[in-house]
Subunit: 445 residues, 2 copies
């Protein structure tokens, strides 16, 4: 959204042109109205929210960030706040309530009607990051014995409050999930056709206690834009929709990116995270890797005499250390991403490591050649031999370490993303320095 | 899918139990059948495909990888292959044809009916990674003046071949896109209500020549599971659906992960990429960074005397180099991810760098303290002072370099993900070594 929409809004407000303001704001898409609300001042926010038609106000609220929504609720009267919260979709409401401090959540729960209160309490009862937290009970369920005509009558009666009626879920009278039927097939069928003839069984479904990652993978696998959620008895308790899944997928990807750089997952987005929490999320691995780095210092100390004899060896330490770390990080990143997307599986470790041995060897020959040329200019044939040979061996070793660690972690049921660039770099360093000084001692002695 | 399904299939085939085989396979979800086809031998693949009911066979084909589909087509008769390709959804067909070598594409295009051929040619005419490549022309369009009754009649006539009828698109007689209306609102409205009263205008739409990343972002922003695609005149030319968007989002994320580790984006998934292409995608940055690393070698050469005088300084080189690289990579990763997800914008560079200066300072104090203790044990007070002080300054500098580079690249319209861990590490090294030896010369002189 361009800046000028907010400017227009502010200008209309300065002119007290309420009709113009209402006209300008209501014609915007929902997320843009939400952005206007987030960007104007507090007083203006309440004012603009109040001039929105009721139904539009409810839609817009779903696009506000929890913090902005919270501020808005504080400024509104209790009656207005109650209406706003009641109008949110149950899944959006659960997300919003889950983001607020416990005390505030309690205050808002008190504003809800007994029915909405029971529903909110139930959804908040599922563990964090579980499918249950994302589901909405707003779906349409039909019976296998109903005709198309009965289904359409039921939809007209019940569908208004549903998040989606594109897929209908087929259950028995105890709400045990049988199958699913697309509205498309209902519309296209004869009015007397039965649901049982149109439905696809068994329905692909999710367990309410499963991790949200499983929901994303299932949705992606089956190209489904909504999936039914069942409890452990197979009873239908809600549905999850693709929009929430896309948000989950993005959050998971951000966590993986952060882990790959040795940062513990943040609770919130970067801009909403303070300096001290950021330091806490980053210091763990940084300090831990200082300890691991003692091995490298130890290796150099052991070879102190070799180094003192030929100080030019020090010139190439950063080059060798960095190259080993880079090649190892490349390999680890490819393995981690392959394991996350399902392109690689644990069972393929042997063929994959064989492939990476070949890749590492070829890269080592290229890098060794380049490094040998540099070594020659700085210190003649002998140094060229040492640097070149070290680079080849180190490339193969670092590549194998980088490729193997994600499989090892996965096997130990640790997130393979823990094999971060920084960790691989630190491990590759020690290996590389041992190779470097051993070759140097043999060649230069 | 568990291994035993493939085993069951193979056992049934060995027994020549065709009825049992058909029963066992057809009851599986589409993606599982596709997996069975991909995992059994070539002869078995054709056999299993042939026993599938026609409609099911078409659905399953959409889930096959381009390579597997290609093998299948080669084994089938021309008539069977024609039916298979004709039964694919246009967007799946375009993707499949775009993945094959040009000659093969031509052979397959020759199998198509004139209508399908025109359609395939048109879709292939859009640039790679453009929205046009993902769109399907299988949607239902309605006119603003139609009544609900007319719309339902039109759907029954045209909807059978549509990928989705959950949203209908409203156009004038020249196919200029006016708005969109959800099937839900059609079903719930009175039979005499007019489309113009139910539709939302203007419709959120995509340009066929836009990058697919824009489509993903627009879908995510508007929580839309399908979006209409228009040409530059605003004429409706197709729709894109969320399932293709989720695939695009996953591919983009993989590319970003690879870039973060200094790997050029692969054309295909890792397991489908050979050793030589892998080497090519990885060697560019590895060799380039060797050149950049010459700066570090140069710095050490300049300070050769300082190093010779106190060889213990070499012990801590890996520690300082790695720590600077780690902290810089952390900062760069957070910025890159923030810029990709939209949490950060270019305009926020000043506040963000100020925040990172503070974070870097605090991390530096923690790491400097830890490093000073190690320095003391190895070389007494003076070395402790050098190591500790270097670590503090280097942490702040590396953190700022890591945080600033993604903004610089973004400003220069280069993908900020180019500020990869390996690049940051190499740059941070040179800065770190200058700081290290300068302090060492002052303190130890």
């Amino acid at each position: 959204m361009e800046k000028r929409i907010v400017d227009t809004v502010n200008a209309l407000m300065a002119d007290k042109n309420w009709e113009g303001l209402r006209a300008a704001v209501t014609k915007l898409p929902y997320p843009d109205i939400a952005e206007v609300l987030a960007e104007v001042g507090k007083t203006e926010r309440v004012l603009i929210y109040r001039i929105l038609p009721r139904e539009l106000a409810a839609e817009v609220a779903a696009y506000l960030e929890p913090d902005d929504l919270h501020f808005l609720i504080q400024e509104l009267s209790d009656a207005e706040a109650r209406h706003l919260i009641a109008s949110l979709r149950p899944d959006d409401r659960t997300f919003f309530l889950g983001e607020l401090p416990g005390q505030v959540t309690q205050h808002i729960l008190n504003l809800l009607s007994p029915d909405d209160l029971r529903e909110a309490r139930e959804l908040l009862g599922y563990p964090e990051h579980s499918v249950g937290r994302l589901m909405t009970p707003e779906y349409v369920a039909v019976r296998p014995t109903w005709t198309v005509e009965q289904v359409l009558g039921h939809i007209r009666q019940r569908g208004r409050d549903s998040e989606t009626i594109n897929t209908l879920y087929v259950t028995d009278e105890r709400w045990y999930l049988y199958g699913a039927v697309d509205l498309k097939h209902i519309i296209l069928a004869a009015p007397t056709a039965q649901v049982s003839d149109l439905m696809r069984t068994p329905a692909i479904s999710l367990n309410a206690f499963s991790d949200q990652e499983i929901a994303v993978a299932t949705m992606q696998r089956h190209d489904a834009f909504a999936l039914p959620v069942v409890n452990t008895d197979g009873v239908l308790v809600g549905i999850v929709t693709f929009d929430d899944m896309m948000d989950v997928a993005q959050t998971e990807a951000t966590e993986d990116f952060h882990r790959a750089a040795a940062i513990a997952p943040l609770e919130d987005v970067y801009t909403a995270t303070g300096i001290v929490p950021l330091v806490k999320k980053r210091m763990g691995w940084l300090l831990g890797l200082i300890i691991v780095n003692l091995m490298s210092s130890g290796v150099i100390a052991v070879f102190e005499e070799t180094l003192s004899a030929t100080i030019a060896l020090a010139f190439f330490m950063p080059l060798l250390i960095d190259s080993g770390g880079n090649i190892g990080s490349q390999a680890a990143t490819m393995m981690i991403r392959g394991l996350v997307t399902g392109d690689l599986t644990l069972g393929r470790w042997a063929t994959t490591l064989a492939k990476e041995a070949a890749v590492g060897g070829l890269l080592g020959l290229l890098m060794g050649g380049a490094a040998a040329v540099l070594g020659f200019y700085r210190g003649g044939y002998e140094l060229a031999l040492v640097i070149g040979l070290t680079m080849v061996l180190m490339a193969v070793m670092s590549n194998l370490v980088g490729a193997a660690l994600p499989f090892v972690f996965k096997r130990l049921r640790i997130d393979p993303a823990v094999a971060s660039g920084p960790l691989i770099t630190t491990v590759a360093d020690t290996v590389g320095l041992v190779i470097y000084f051993t070759i140097a001692r043999m060649v230069l002695a």
